[in-house]
Symmetry: C2
Subunit: 269 residues, 2 copies
């Protein structure tokens, strides 16, 4: 992070491009609203509305808390983390972002970002002006009932749905923090990570964890030591195989039964 203070991403050379030139070849086009736009034949009409693609190195920030909200971001490659700082200066990692996932929504109500988004390793993102996305949401798709008309852009992607998904994920997190034991919380996290890795094109059963134990502990609101102890425990039970950051899911069913936790038949920690 040496010398990187704020708005790192904007100090990098920006290569503007309109989506008609690069989107067709983008590896994430199947889940990108900008490509939806391209498919619909909508092209940005001025420079300010152009997409911008950028390379980000580990530790550099894409969004800084307090910044004005103008863009959403698509993860093209690499992994990112969103952090939130409360009034006491305590930091909470609110989420991780995998290739093919959008981020940067949390500023949409106040018009200012409340979180900082940082690259965990070298990766690249697409900066999509909000105005481009809004042209998607203004298309209203007729539902089965007149009351069910929802704003939906081409490709069925709409901001409402994505925001609804964020709310759903946050609710799951609330449930995790409030009602789950540390073991169940970690198992749930691993399954979620695994699923998202697979969706991003990786092997869901064997991959490299993109974040440190410290980041995991912070995100799950557990002590680092607890994470470490649980990892060795799950390793000894042959449920997972973990060495440093290399994770292999050996017994997915066992992991899922910890997640389900119908009858807490667990070995005490």
């Amino acid at each position: 992070m040496a010398g990187v203070t704020e708005s790192t991403i904007f100090s990098l050379a920006q290569r503007p491009f309109d989506c008609s030139s690069l989107c067709p070849d983008c590896s994430q086009r199947h889940c990108c609203p900008a490509f939806d736009l391209h498919s619909a034949g909508i092209t940005p009409h001025n420079e300010a509305h152009n997409l911008t693609q950028n390379v980000v190195r580990a530790g550099q920030t894409v969004i800084n808390a307090g910044e004005r909200f103008s863009y959403l971001y698509m993860t093209r490659s690499g992994f990112f983390k969103s952090t939130f700082m409360d009034s006491n200066g305590d930091i909470q990692i609110t989420g991780f972002h995998f290739p093919g996932e959008l981020f940067g929504f949390e500023g949409i109500d106040t018009c200012y970002h409340s979180t900082t988004v940082e690259a965990l390793e070298t990766g690249s993102i697409c900066r999509i002006p909000l105005s481009v996305l809004l042209s998607l949401t203004h298309t209203v798709v007729k539902g089965p009932f007149p009351q069910n008309d929802l704003p939906q852009g081409p490709g069925m992607l709409s901001l409402f749905k994505v925001m609804g998904g964020i709310i759903a994920r946050d609710r799951a997190m609330i449930f995790s923090l409030g009602k789950m034991s540390a073991r169940r919380r970690l198992a749930t996290f691993l399954v979620d990570i695994s699923n998202r890795m697979q969706r991003s094109g990786y092997d869901g059963d064997e991959f490299r964890l993109c974040m440190s134990r410290t980041d995991m502990a912070n995100h799950l609101c557990l002590a680092i030591e607890t994470i470490s102890r649980l990892f060795t425990q799950l390793n000894d039970l042959d449920i997972i195989n973990i060495e440093r950051r290399h994770l292999r899911i050996v017994d997915r069913d066992a992991l899922l039964s910890i997640v389900a936790d119908n009858h807490p038949e667990t070995v005490p920690m």
Copy 2:
């Protein structure tokens, strides 16, 4: 709750009305999108788009999990709670709703409600068809930059902003559950309740808690006994005055310092 099973609200007599007749006199018009609509001179154009006002008795449900999402609801009077049931049947109270507050958003992404909303005491709600609200969001207000154009209806109320607010509140809840002690969590809850009571027109310093200890405990993910112990403790410290459900905030500064928790100088429980 005797005999009340599902979709209680729809079995009640519904009194349809268009907002031009009732909205002008509604006590919650200052924070209701339907009144915004009325002010803008937009009137529902058919029966399906009419607003519906209903009285709900304690224990009756307004929304049932699994129901199709077609309406949002404005709390006109009384208090409500939203509950969510997970796959194991565990119930989590996701929030309470006070007069003047909208609820029912959580189904917007899937088109089906995931939570059940129940009246804590006799109250009344307004059922607002989503289509009515959408006619608000289609108005785009120009921001200072072209990228900042946000969909905003008359009266500055837009679904985006409200959903953004929900996300912000959920994030606060995540922080509360993950990083706060039981005492700080309860204090935060009481301050929040107090502020919202005041916004709803009540005395923010002295009011009747609308929910049981059990509901509070569930919502804050604590044991009932912990809630009870903390209440007597705060009472003995002359920070609050609590007798059954009657709450008086005696020393708001002390309460706020527990919320801030800069230096945890707290008496162990």
